[in-house]
């Protein structure tokens, strides 16, 4: 089987598996919506305040939802031994991991993107920032999955890896949060956002190329240990 066939086969397999467990897939999405619903309840329903905070609220909720969904990236493959087969396969592990990350993003990141316009309206975000919000989510959430894959590969062998995963991954998410939140905010005041989106795209491509390598090394380490 050629590398590209293997790549596509893994994506297809993961998507089928996700489809069979639809309820699990919905959880991060529900979490995302719930967290955003909590903010008006905690802060008071002042339209101005929520409007000003909307980009930050949506992005922090997306960050937390992405982080919570990370565990499912390797968990079942780790438990049933598929990961060992990936490592044994003649293809480079980093490329196979990239396939898993793509599938994982399609299942957990893309739904966040699709539901976010609704939430933007909930929070009274100005109309011209909604497309920018979508752009930042499109460029930013794959980065969350990519960086997260390193953290989850390091902790997949641990019994209580959850809190440590947060400690490892959240500091590395900060640049994405800064540029994405800022772009949406600037768009709200009618300012150009090209620079922020370009930087987000640069981060995405750098992460696409670089992140699978340490993730593969970490995964091998987790399997041996």
């Amino acid at each position: 089987m050629s590398l590209s066939n293997a790549f596509i086969a893994i994506i297809r397999r993961d998507l089928v598996l996700a489809y069979r467990r639809r309820a699990e897939v919905a959880n991060p999405l529900l979490f995302f919506v719930l967290v955003i619903t909590l903010f008006p309840l905690g802060l008071g329903a002042q339209t101005k305040l929520l409007q000003a905070m909307a980009p930050g609220i949506i992005w922090i909720a997306a960050l937390l939802a992405a982080m919570l969904s990370l565990d499912s990236l390797f968990r079942s493959d780790f438990d049933d031994g598929s990961l060992e087969q990936f490592i044994l396969s003649p293809h480079p592990l980093s490329v196979l991991i990239l396939a898993k990350i793509v599938a994982h993003w399609l299942v957990t990141g893309l739904p966040l993107l699709l539901i976010s316009p609704l939430l933007a309206i909930f929070l009274g975000m100005p109309e011209q920032s909604v497309p920018v919000l979508l752009w930042t989510l499109l460029l930013g959430t794959p980065v969350l999955s990519l960086i997260g894959s390193i953290g989850v590969a390091l902790t997949v062998g641990l019994r209580r890896g959850g809190m440590i995963l947060a400690l490892l991954v959240l500091p590395l998410y900060i640049p994405v949060l800064i540029f994405a939140g800022n772009a949406v905010e600037m768009a709200g005041s009618g300012l150009p956002v090209g620079a922020q989106l370009n930087i987000l795209a640069a981060i995405l491509f750098a992460a696409l190329v670089l992140a699978p390598l340490p993730a593969a090394a970490a995964l091998k380490m987790s399997m041996n240990g």
């Binding site: 390193i150 390091l154 902790t155 062998g157 641990l158 209580r160 890896g161 440590i164 400690l167 490892l168 959240l170 500091p171 590395l172 900060i174 640049p175 800064i178 540029f179 800022n182 981060i203 670089l210 340490p214 090394a217 970490a218 380490m221 987790s222 041996n224 240990g225």
Partner: protein, 250 residues
């Protein structure tokens, strides 16, 4: 070994052997400690007594003799940690792993001291303990990166595996630190209004600079002392079943 002189190569080769490392550092530590104490005494005397008071900040600027070297060390040690981790990953040298993890705690300590002294200085100078200034924020994130390293090492029972995990994390961290730093700086210039305008740094006078550099070197020696102490403990703990450690006890 064509790039490295043979004697240097042999030195490192011998240092990679645990018993040799243990006895060698045992002999080295008193000297390092002495140099650290002398340099600290000289640096603090120069900084606290000889250097003139700042014309704007008075005496409260003197905290920089602790604060600035700590901040330098916090970055320096992270890089040392990542380099030691990379060496450990590539050549599987046990001692590189031990140096890496022994550095983490010391580095976290320096980061914490830099934050603490910064906020102690900020209260009289800026009128507040904490501002979301770019450098403060980066330093805080650096502390979280250190704590992540320490937590990950603690969570994995097999220490060789833990060392490899931590090495990967440290290398990822080193790649990310510049990105985080510049994004924070950028965020700061866009968000923060001129509520706290930092006092323009005049070029520092020689009488203030010399104690500062002395303290910086002293802190380097403190790092060596603290790191080697931790490394020695970690080493005999890991090697507790080997002959040479048993020999030490008897």
């Amino acid at each position: 070994m064509f790039l490295i002189p043979d004697s240097v190569g042999r030195f490192f080769h011998r240092m990679a052997s645990p018993p040799h490392f243990y006895t060698f550092t045992g002999r080295l530590l008193p000297w390092l400690t002495a140099i650290f104490i002398i340099l600290t005494a000289v640096g603090l005397y120069g900084g606290l007594f000889l250097a003139p008071a700042d014309y704007q900040q008075g005496d409260s600027y003197r905290i920089i003799y602790i604060h600035v070297p700590s901040a330098w060390m916090s970055l320096f040690i992270y890089v040392v940690m990542a380099v030691a981790g990379a060496i450990g990953l590539v050549w599987r040298i046990k001692l590189a792993e031990i140096v890496m993890i022994s550095s983490a705690t010391v580095g976290a300590g320096f980061t914490f001291i830099a934050l603490l002294t910064g906020s102690l200085w900020g209260k009289p100078m800026w009128g507040t303990w904490w501002v979301w200034d770019a450098r403060l924020t980066s330093e805080l994130i650096l502390l979280f990166l250190y704590l992540g390293v320490i937590a990950l090492y603690g969570a994995i029972d097999d220490k060789r595996t833990a060392s490899r995990a931590v090495a990967i994390l440290a290398i990822v961290g080193v790649v990310n630190i510049p990105i985080i730093h510049y994004s924070v700086e950028w965020w700061n210039t866009l968000h923060q209004g001129p509520t706290v305008s930092k006092i323009d740094k005049p070029s520092i006078h020689v009488s203030m600079l010399i104690p500062l550099l002395t303290m910086a070197v002293a802190f380097k020696f403190y790092y060596l002392v603290a790191m080697l102490q931790r490394a020695r403990t970690e080493l005999i703990q890991r090697e507790r079943n080997s002959q040479w450690v048993k020999g030490l006890i008897e």
